[in-house]
Symmetry: C2
Subunit: 156 residues, 2 copies
DNA sequence: TATTGTTATACTCTATAACTATA
DNA sequence: TATAGTTATAGAGTATAACAATA
């Protein structure tokens, strides 16, 4: 299938898998840059992102970020120090801690959400609707395949 | 454009950007799992991958991996300890060190290359040629846009 | 003077294990 | 007993700064 990309970019060795890998690499760099500009690391940005859904226990954050509870302690410590979140007592479970956004944290999350929305324009702006629709259909299948593979391998 | 994915997956809030982000997330997890199975971290796997092109100076590795030369010292130390690479004297520049694959390192790189080739089947196997071609065309444009954005922002 | 790679130091993310408080 | 979060400890990746050897 080399010809697909050859035709467009004249890069004789580029395959669709290469394109996907480059997309991943570019997106990682772009996001890391955005987060750093906001004074965030990727892990802390991820945690903040999860807090969109409201105050969350550290246990739930550990599940969402797929890291151990111990890591959440450190990430929350950092975000408390930077003034983005606060720890609050859980109303019914005295073992648990709720992590909640501060006002500056909520502001930052809002700007992150706006950046996420702008990503649509960056990636797909000006693309014909039919082309975008077809792309979305195929991408949906690819994502489903990959998700199935992870489940198969017991990574899910 | 929400309807695109709604139509297929009945996930009312999923956008093409969400799909791309999930693709990135799933691929990261899949790769991290593969590398760990081979006793590698992502950073060391990346370094090994660059060595496909032959013996390489640490300076060149730093550029390829986009990290400081100091980091390369640590990564190469680890790969030397695990027996995957060796340091060799540069034939003409006595300041420089060439990093080269050992036989076990070359074997592992070969299996990584095979895994990369199999990724085509995982992601696209069974997809009609026309659909894959269209996907590759659109993905090429998306990657180009993203690359341009990074250059614009001075990240390139 | 500039470059290559190192030592020294520090920060972040990650993990496991042992522990306290609570359910 | 089980769960939520912490302290203790360790390893890996990253960075800057200062340095020695070489170009």
């Amino acid at each position: 299938m080399h010809w697909i990309v050859q035709y467009i970019h004249d890069m004789p060795e580029t395959t669709p898998v290469d394109q996907v890998m480059e997309l991943v690499s570019l997106l990682q760099r772009d996001m890391a840059h955005s987060f750093a500009r906001d004074g965030l690391t990727e892990a802390r940005a991820h945690l903040l992102w999860v807090l969109q859904d409201g105050p969350t226990t550290q246990r739930a954050l550990a599940d969402a970020l797929r890291v151990t509870p111990r890591n959440i302690t450190g990430l929350v410590d950092g975000l408390v120090a930077s003034g983005h979140v606060v720890r609050r007592a859980h109303p019914t479970d005295r073992r648990a801690t709720l992590v909640d956004l501060t006002e500056p944290g909520a502001d930052l999350l809002r700007s992150m959400t706006e950046g996420y929305a702008e990503m649509h324009e960056v990636l797909f702006g000006g693309l014909p609707d039919r082309e975008l629709a077809a792309f979305g259909r195929t991408l949906g299948r690819v994502v489903d395949r990959l998700r199935a593979r992870l489940v198969e391998e017991g990574i899910g």
